[in-house]
Amino acid sequence: SQQGEEDPQALSIQEGENATMNCSYKTSINNLQWYRQNSGRGLVHLILIRSNEREKHSGRLRVTLDTSKKSSSLLITASRAADTASYFCATDAESGAGNMLTFGGGTRLMVKP
């Protein structure tokens, strides 16, 4: 079963626009991560935010975490056609279950040139 849900399931924007994806989860966590997946390929780690952090930046990426609402958002600014991919949030159990990540269903982002 999936721990979290991404919203929206699909997003289509024009190049240069910002893209915002949301993730909700159910149980307490140690950290939340975002991964990207190009069609049919492996996932690439984008950013990790710990449960005691509220916001984190990496290049054009901005992640927020609200543990009281059990939700996170990923903002991609000034999007490019190369950002077209599926984006997944992943959480680990607070009990520290190693690398057992629970992934959401993903947001499919299409950036039109």
């Binding site: 950290n31 190693g98 990540l101």
Partner: protein
């Protein structure tokens, strides 16, 4: 440096057969995890191995088994294949056993089709 490599890339099997998937982690990574990704869904955790010992197991039947070798490579075995086992099987390696200090590096997966 080479990334995580998985073999084969594609595989077609018949119901009831057995399959072995292989994974070589990034050099120096001692943890290997396996995930199943059904089309249109997010990956689901199957196993984690660290230093050749099982560290975690997801909600999968006993038909699924895995092991890690002294060189840290890993095999995932699935017996008595069902149509529902058709999926992309992803292997991920990391430096340590814990995700908070060592993100996962994924291979491109093995696409298994069961007919």
């Amino acid at each position: 440096d080479a990334g995580v490599t998985q073999s084969p890339t594609h595989l077609i099997k018949t119901r009831g057969q057995h399959v072995t998937l292989r994974c070589s982690p990034i050099s120096g990574h001692k943890s290997v995890s396996w995930y199943q990704q059904v089309l249109g869904q997010g990956p689901q955790f199957i196993f984690q191995y660290y230093e050749k010992e099982e560290r975690g197991r997801g909600n999968f039947p006993d038909r699924f088994s895995a092991r890690q070798f002294p060189n840290y490579s890993s095999e995932l075995n699935v017996n008595a294949l069902l149509l529902g086992d058709s999926a992309l099987y992803l292997c991920a390696s990391s430096l340590t056993a814990e995700s908070y200090n060592s993100p996962l590096h994924f291979g491109n997966g093995t696409r298994l089709t069961v007919t």
